[in-house]
Symmetry: C2
Subunit: 430 residues, 2 copies
């Protein structure tokens, strides 16, 4: 094989991910040439401080602090954006696309917030913008959705797309409080000192917005994702789930029903027999359900420097391998779909009631549910001292019917507390 540089790659950023991309391109040069017929090499890397020590040493003259030197370098054919942030990153990416350079990005916030503008610029310039690494790192869910499932009519995407919260909830299953699980996640480096982005569901919401956009061909922004974090998950809920043969997980659910889209991230009860319940610790998994494929699940590490770099390299290879063909170079969005009113979203639900231990309370609650056409699949009542808890698993029903019935139940004098209803995810419909 020749040693010529056919394709010049620039990196925006040369931190953990960027230097790993450089190393993978060097170590995997032969594999890439076999796949694409081309040799890829990093010729420019934009950094803030060119003198800083780095894990993988860039070749002389590659590091630069001057964005214009990257944008205007005629040897740069394709750029990998691995610096993160929305500003000035978004402007850089726009300028690069307009300068006729294809871009690969690992930046979920950028894609989830400024996707419309960026893809329009790419289409106008006739170049590609790829973003596999922006969702679940090395798990190739974007490629599978866009290429392998092109005619599968995917109508539901279920995802465990945040490893921090999955680790924390798995930890709580073995006993312990939310605070203890968070401390353990921080100790092991799974959670940041400020864990808000993970535990609030915001990180998962950005990923689900991108996945829904790709799956349904209609732009979904992060602000349109119904989002609830795991801060309210208590050990009692984890134990109650366990007794029902389920686990509590932060689940992203993107639904296409009657040409309307619903995307949400929230704690849910997942049946132990369901593939998502088996997702271990900090791993991620995405389940794609469609007409022609029933369901396909992809599972793997959803974060990490080398894992993210692996997805960036795969995108670079795909850009090189499809340039000039028209293959997947258009925006993934081609239609505008209405949003499903959140109350019309349907699911089986789990509800936990705390009630005074008085005769008739169960009958009252059941009649309120029945009056909203919500039927009960499973019921467990437990007695405490003068108090009782009632655990209900409800058959599939619109969210609005469940919340309306619960509002009436909460108004009953013997009902002490009604937390929010959690969706229940099972193998077979409830």
């Amino acid at each position: 094989m020749s040693d010529a540089v056919d394709v010049g790659v620039a990196l925006l950023g040369y931190g953990t991910v960027g230097s790993s991309v450089d190393r993978l391109l060097v170590d995997g040069a032969d594999e890439i040439e076999r796949a694409t017929g081309h040799r890829l090499r990093v010729v420019r890397a934009l950094v803030r401080d060119a003198g800083k020590e780095r894990g993988f040493t860039a070749r002389d003259g590659v590091l630069t602090t001057d964005f214009a030197a990257v944008r205007d370098d005629p040897d740069v054919d394709v750029v990998a954006e691995v610096m993160g942030g929305v500003e000035p990153t978004g402007e850089y990416v726009l300028e690069l696309l307009r300068a006729g350079k294809s871009v690969v990005t690992a930046n979920k916030q950028l894609v989830a917030r400024r996707g419309a503008e960026l893809f329009a610029a790419a289409s106008e310039a006739g170049v590609q913008l790829r973003f596999e690494a922006s969702v679940c790192a090395a798990i190739p869910v974007v490629k599978v959705l866009r290429e392998s499932l092109v005619v599968s009519n995917v109508h539901r995407v279920l995802g465990i797309v945040n490893g921090t919260t999955n680790f924390m909830l798995s930890t709580m299953e073995r006993g312990g409080t939310y605070a203890e699980a968070l401390a353990e996640a921080q100790r092991l480096g799974y959670a940041e000192a400020d864990p808000t982005d993970d535990v609030s569901g915001a990180d998962a919401a950005a990923k689900m917005a991108i996945l829904a956009t790709v799956a349904y061909g209609s732009r979904v922004t992060i602000d349109e994702v119904e989002c609830r974090g795991i801060e309210e998950v208590e050990p009692a809920l984890v134990r109650a789930a366990d007794e029902l043969g389920m686990v509590v997980r932060l689940v992203g659910i993107a639904t296409l029903a009657d040409e309307k889209v619903d995307v949400r991230v929230q704690p849910a009860l997942v049946d132990r027999a369901h593939p998502l319940a088996a997702v271990d610790g900090a791993f991620n998994a995405v389940m794609l359900q469609g007409d022609a494929i029933r369901e396909i699940t992809l599972e793997g590490p959803g974060a990490g420097g080398i894992e993210t770099a692996s997805a960036v390299v795969a995108d670079l290879v795909s850009v090189v391998g499809t340039t000039g063909t028209g293959f997947l170079q258009n925006d993934a969005c081609w239609r505008e779909l209405d949003r499903l009113p959140p109350g019309e979203w349907e699911s089986p639900f789990y509800v936990h009631l705390e009630v005074a231990d008085r005769p008739g309370v169960l009958a009252h609650a059941a009649s309120r549910l029945a009056s909203h056409d919500v039927s009960v699949a499973q019921l467990v009542q437990r007695l405490g001292e003068g108090e009782a808890t009632i655990e209900l698993v409800l058959h599939q029903a619109p969210l609005r019917s469940v919340t309306d019935a619960l509002a009436e139940i909460a108004a009953l004098p013997e009902v002490l507390r009604v937390p929010f209803p959690l969706p229940v995810i099972t193998e077979r419909p409830l």
Copy 2:
């Protein structure tokens, strides 16, 4: 979008899969045009009897019983082989490739047996031969291995790649004999009247040969796969596994170690916490372990007409989307790797001994294992009437050391029976 036929597709075969491909191309024409810029339409379909009733009615003039009419039709750009069998299918595919037509095949026997010859013909003619549908139907494991994991140095592929045996072993877990599980699989249509191909492991061996070839870039034929079926799996083994927190599964294992390849299919004990243990009934799953990705698991339906057709269409789309680029048009094989001598293959193993209940037998067995440097991770002894069973889980060791020790143990007078050792698959190394 225009209504022009840009790309003419021919089908070899118009049964369940072929007619589903036709339907998916019609129903998904807009999706495909958005992805590739082209409209695909079936213009020819080779059948044995053009008058037969079909699930999806082909347009007039499409069905033909004359292979030459397909091969010589200038409107045919790409061909999907969905007729099955090795002869005359292999000759047809060769002729088509030589005539300059790219081919997509769903035929694992053809790829596993005649791959070398077919890929050479494709390379020589400068056309593509794709085979996603030949392994695990709609699960896009070939595309993920070749494109997404191009620089990941995959070194281990674990697969549950036969749904029939997975269903049968799952069924035996809930009680019942091998014969009962087979009858149930036949009743539900998961097993053929003659189940040999599934239960002997031959079907799984063909798939593992193809996966190993793609993963390691070195041709592995079906005859090189060490293969043992599930016919010897008894309820006692399933129960013993259960007591160890494991399940019995037919597992394909392809290993690359020190630039040597080992591919095997055999019953194994899989830890309940391992993702492969959660694979439900007739589903398939493939786990890919590599340097840059740790492990990625893909799970889904491994068989079925529409599921297979979905993968065929994805390959057609990929052919159209990459023609003219050099992307993945070469053979997946680029090197010749030696085979690992089977005895050097290493794994943790499970061993079940039936012994006379006499003092010292355990010590004798343990000393035989120790003399071959095989150490015991877990031991359960159970007493019957004058007899006892000893269940051993052994730490990772070369297969040869284990079989040599077991041969010595079998020769002890108090040992009644020593079945073959089963590999043990756990999340964490034993």
